[in-house]
Amino acid sequence: MAKNVVFSRLRRLEKNERLEDDLSSSCDSHEVHVLAVDDSFVDRKVIERLLKITSCKVTAVDSGRRALQFLGLDEEESSVGFDGLKVDLIITDYCMPGMTGYELLKKIKGSSTFREIPVVIMSSENVLTRIDRCLEEGAEDFIVKPVKLSDVKRLKNYMFGEGREKSQDRGFNKRKLQETSPSPSPTSSTSPEPSSDSSSTSSPSKLRSPTSLNSPTRRFKTSNHK
């Protein structure tokens, strides 16, 4: 793939290819930049790879504190001088020592500079009250761990900025409501296809492609923060 051609994010998503992130490419390549926050080294490795394989630039940090530092939100509310390092999405673990993902979410949504950045929460615990709390605080989505490629691919819908496809895929990950463990009985169809829409655990409400524009389910929640 030619590195100097500017693709629109939409077209990139439609191509659905595995593009490798080229860190040396210029900043106007419109590559999506994701800030991933997780105290677990294993999980950081995995989320980093998941994001890179979906052609995102990734910055992975191990705490909420470091995330805020990276954003420039730590202590001083200095405006962002990170020219090419604009963050398009923040994905954070919920349970972290020090600052939890929820607290990080609140800080971000409480900042006039950064509250527009979509924040996604990950958690291994499938607790409805926790999920609701995060969504009410302005989280874009809530992913139950372990995170899969299909989860990350869905996230790309949140990262369009101005050219944003409105309203689709606001249904949050209902997968968690239907399973209590990460692995239901593996049928013979557990040869997962990453580009397939139907994993054995997905729920019918899990929207995927940017072509489904008709679900304003959670839009009203985030619009309050604008």
Binding site: S40, V46, I53, S124, L149
Partner: protein, 162 residues
Amino acid sequence: MLGFGAERLRADMNRLLALLFHQGVLDEQFLQLQQLQDESSPNFVSEVVNIYFHESEKLLRNLRGLLLDREFSDYNKMGIHLNQFMGSSSSIGAKRVRNVCVAFRAASEQSNRPGCLRALELLEYEYCYLKNKLHELFQIEQQRILAAAVRYPPVQNHLNNP
């Protein structure tokens, strides 16, 4: 004949994987990791798994240290270690290890020391089994890669040169 070796090794790998799935040692998350491995990241699975091993052994040492301390009472701290262990196990698809952590955590929440000790033993056992099997898997894979590489020697050129 060398090519045949690669095929057989691949079959061995698949057989071992199938066994581990059947035993519930691994779940589909492990397959997910395999799918993230490609030419641009050819050792992804073993890299992540090695990080997991490193961290797990630290956690196991911590857990053992806590429990064997006669004055131990900090079940909270134990819970934190267990949550970490559970999380990383789930992230690599180590289903059985994760499940033992769940039981362990339940015992810990009840401040049930003998229960915790039993759970720790079981956890160490399951972890050992997992580690051995994954090492075996990686070994077979290494051999398969070598065998497959030798399979396509420059001999092919002879076919193209009349």
